[in-house]
Subunit: 475 residues, 2 copies
Amino acid sequence: MGTARSAIRGSFFDFVDDPWKHPDDEKKSARFIQDGLMVIEDGIIKDFGSFETLSANYPHVQVTHIPNRLILPGFIDGHIHLAQTRVLGSYGEQLLPWLQKWIFPEEKRYSDLEYARKGCEHFFNNLLAAGTTTCQAFTTHDATVADAFFTAATTRNMRVISGVTGIDMFAPEGSTDTPENFYNDSKKLLEKWHKNGRNLYAITPRFALGCSAEMMTACQRLRKEYPDVYVNTHVSENPTEIRVCLENHGTKDYLEAYEKYDLVGPRFTGGHGVWLSDDEMRRISIAGAAVSFCPTSNLFLGNGLFRLGKAKDPNQPVKLSFGSDIGGGNRFSMLHVLDEAYKVGMCNNTMLDGSLDPRFKNTAEAERNKLSPYRAFWSITLGSAESLYLQDTIGNFTPGKEADFVALDWTGGQTGTAWHTEVLVQDGPTTMDEAANLLFSMMMVGDDRCVDQTWVMGKQLYCQSTAKPALAGKY
Amino acid sequence: MGTARSAIRGSFFDFVDDPWKHPDDEKKSARFIQDGLMVIEDGIIKDFGSFETLSANYPHVQVTHIPNRLILPGFIDGHIHLAQTRVLGSYGEQLLPWLQKWIFPEEKRYSDLEYARKGCEHFFNNLLAAGTTTCQAFTTHDATVADAFFTAATTRNMRVISGVTGIDMFAPEGSTDTPENFYNDSKKLLEKWHKNGRNLYAITPRFALGCSAEMMTACQRLRKEYPDVYVNTHVSENPTEIRVCLENHGTKDYLEAYEKYDLVGPRFTGGHGVWLSDDEMRRISIAGAAVSFCPTSNLFLGNGLFRLGKAKDPNQPVKLSFGSDIGGGNRFSMLHVLDEAYKVGMCNNTMLDGSLDPRFKNTAEAERNKLSPYRAFWSITLGSAESLYLQDTIGNFTPGKEADFVALDWTGGQTGTAWHTEVLVQDGPTTMDEAANLLFSMMMVGDDRCVDQTWVMGKQLYCQSTAKPALAGKY
C-alpha cells in the first residue's frame, strides 16, 4: 500500500514563537501565507509554504482549495469535562454547591455505558463544531467512562489526553472510588491507551479537595511507575475550596498539596489557578508545569479574575493552556474563551495601571494582560501545545506535525459581523496585520459560527453547512 | 376605516413585579401561560389570557399560532450607541484612548448622510435580530444623525429614545459642537420628534468629561423648558475618566456633575455606574433616576464589576436598565448581556460571601447579585421599562400596552444546546419553573440564535429563517 498524499490551498496563519516575547513586534511570532499550500501525507504535514513556490514540486497531488477562509492550527482545549457536556450553564451556585447540585448527579449517569457513549458523541461533535481538535479532558471516577472516551477519540483519530478521574472524598456515594481501585483502573487504562494511536494518558486526581492522602499517594505511585504520562487536575479555583483544601491536606498553599506527592513537573496541568500566589506561580514555572486558564468558567462560577499578566512574567513564566472547562464554562467555543480571556485581561489592566490605587501600579504586568489577537490565537494553538509538551506534534504547520486545522469564516456570527469585517478588509486579508484584525474580530464579534470546517489528520470531520441537519435531530 | 385586529397564540412569559422583591418565591413576579392568546388591535394589546378562556370571545379574529416557542415582551436596550455599530469589538484600549483611536473617527463618518442612513439600517436590523424592540441610544454631535435615527425608527414604528449628543470637549475637532448649536439643534429635534409617533427625546450630554460648564448649562436650560423629556448620559465608568471629570467640574463625585445642573431625576439614565459610591446610589434612588448596567462593555473596556447587589438594596433601590453599550459592548444580543451580567453578579457574590475577606461579608448583598432567570428577564423587559418610566406603555402583556414581543427558540445556539435543553424539558415547558429554566439556558447556553421572531406593534419585523439572505448581502 502506497502513502496517501493530498494538499490544501488557502490563506494560512500560524505561530512560530510566543508573542509575549515580542511586545514591540508581535508579527515576529507568526506566519501568514496569503496563498499557501500544505501538503499532507498519511495525516502528517509533509511540506508547507507558498503555493507559487511549492505547487510545482507536487504536480500529481490533488489540491483542495479553501478560499475566503483563514486556515489555522486546530484549537486546543486544555481543560474540559466530558461528563458535563449536557449540564453546562447550570444556575446559581459557586463551585462547591454547584458540584453537589448539578455535576455529580449528571456524571453518575455516565456509568450507564449507553449514556456514556451518547455523551461522548455529543462531546466530540461539539468540540469539532467549535474547531477544537485536541483536548485534555476529565472523565468520571468510573473506568468504563474513560475507556468510552478513548474509544470515541480513536474513531475520530484525535489527539487527546485523559484518564479515569480520582476522587474518594467530598462527592456523594456512587460518585467516588477507593484509591486502590483508582490505582488499578489507572494502570489498566494507561497500559491500554497511552500512546495508543494519538491517545495520551493523564493521571487525574480530580482536585486536592476530593482526594485523600491515600488517593494522592496512588497518583504519586503511578507517576513514578509511568514517568512519561500526564497529570491533570485543578488548582486554586475558589476561595472556599482553597480554605477547605488547606485544612484537609495541612499544606501552606494549594500547590503544595500536589508537590507533596511529586506530581508537579513537566506534563502537569492545574486548571484555573485563579488564586495562585506569586510564589506558587514561581514554583510552577521552575517545575516546567502548566496552568489552564478558564475564563468563562471562572466568571460563570464567580471564582474571580486569573492574573494573566503575572503568569506571563518573563522572570517566572508559567506555561499556559486555555480551557473551556465545560460545564463550569458555558460555551464549547475556544473563540468564546478568548472573548472572555480578553475581558479578564482588560479588567486586570485597569487594576494595575495605577488609576484605582497607585500602590497596585505595575505598568509591565498591566500590558501583559492585553490579549492581542497574536497572544490569543497563539495561546489556543502553539502555546497550549507547548504547555502540554506537544509542540513537536501539533500546534502549527511545520512539516512533520500532524495535520489538524480549522478553516475560519470571518463573516460568521451575529448579524452585524459582515458589515464590521468589511471595515477591516475588503476581499480577504492580504497582510499579516489584516489577518490578525480578522482574528480579533472573530473572537470578539464572531463566535462558533466562524468555524466553517474542522480537519483532523488531513481529513475533514466537520463542515458547518453540512453538519447542522445531523446534529439538530434527537440523538 | 375599521380597526385592525389580530391575535397570537403560543406560550407566553412576562412579568408583573420585580423578582428581587420576592427572593423566596420569584414566581410571584411572573406570568406563564402555556397555551395563551394575545389579541392585538391597531398594535395595542386588547386582551391577554389563556386560549381556552379567551378564544370564544374573538371568533372572527385571525390567529397566528407560534408553537414551540416562548413568547416574551420585546427586549429593551437601555444604553447603546448608534454610530458605533460597525466598530464594536475594537482592540486593546481602556475607555479614553479607545474613544480617540476607534470611536470618534467612525462617528464622524455619520456626518455623511448616506453613511448615516446605511448605519441606521444596520443598527435597527441588528437590534431586531437580537430581539430588541426598544432602545435608548446615543447618536453623534451632528443633528442630522439624530434626525436619521428617528426617521429609521419611525419606518419600523419602534419605541425609541434618543437625541443629538452634546460634546464640546475632549474629542478631536470635527467631533464636537458648541453649546449654543447643541441647544438649538436639541430644541429643533425635540420639538420635531418627542412623542411624534413612538419616538421620545433625550437631552444627551455625552458624558461629564466631554461637556463644559456651558454645555451642561445648555442641558439644564433644555430640561427646564421641556420637563417631560429624557436625559441620557454616562456616569462613573472608568477610574481615569472619573478622576479627570472631577478635576474638570470641581465636584466631590461624578454624579454631582449632573446634579449641579438639575439633570438627575425621573427619566435620567446614567450608563455604567461601575464606580458609584453608596452615597451616589442613594441619591440616584431618592431622585427616581436610573443607571444602565452594561456588563459586556464594562468587561470589554476593563472598567470593572458593577455592584448589582448594592444597586438592588431594598433600602435604596436604584432603577436599572441593562444595556449592550455597542460598541463598548461587543454583542447586540441582550441574551449575551444577561450571560455576562450573571458572571459579574457571581464574581460579586464570591467577593461578598466572606470567603476572601470576612470584612467584606454581606450575605444579603451577595444573594442579590445572583441573576436568576426571573431577575434577568425582568431586567430586560418590565424592569428596564420601569427605569425609563415606560411601564404603562411597554414591558409586559397587560392589555393597553404596545404589542412588542419576541418568539424565542430554546434550541438555538451552539451545537450542544438541543441536547442540553432536552434535560430541562421534553416537549416544551408546562410549568413556570420549566419555562424559567429554558430562559436561563437561552442566556447561558444559547445566544442570539434563540431569537426566532421579533414583532413590533403586532407586526413581524424579523424572522430568523427568512432574514438571513437579506442581511448577508453587502449593503
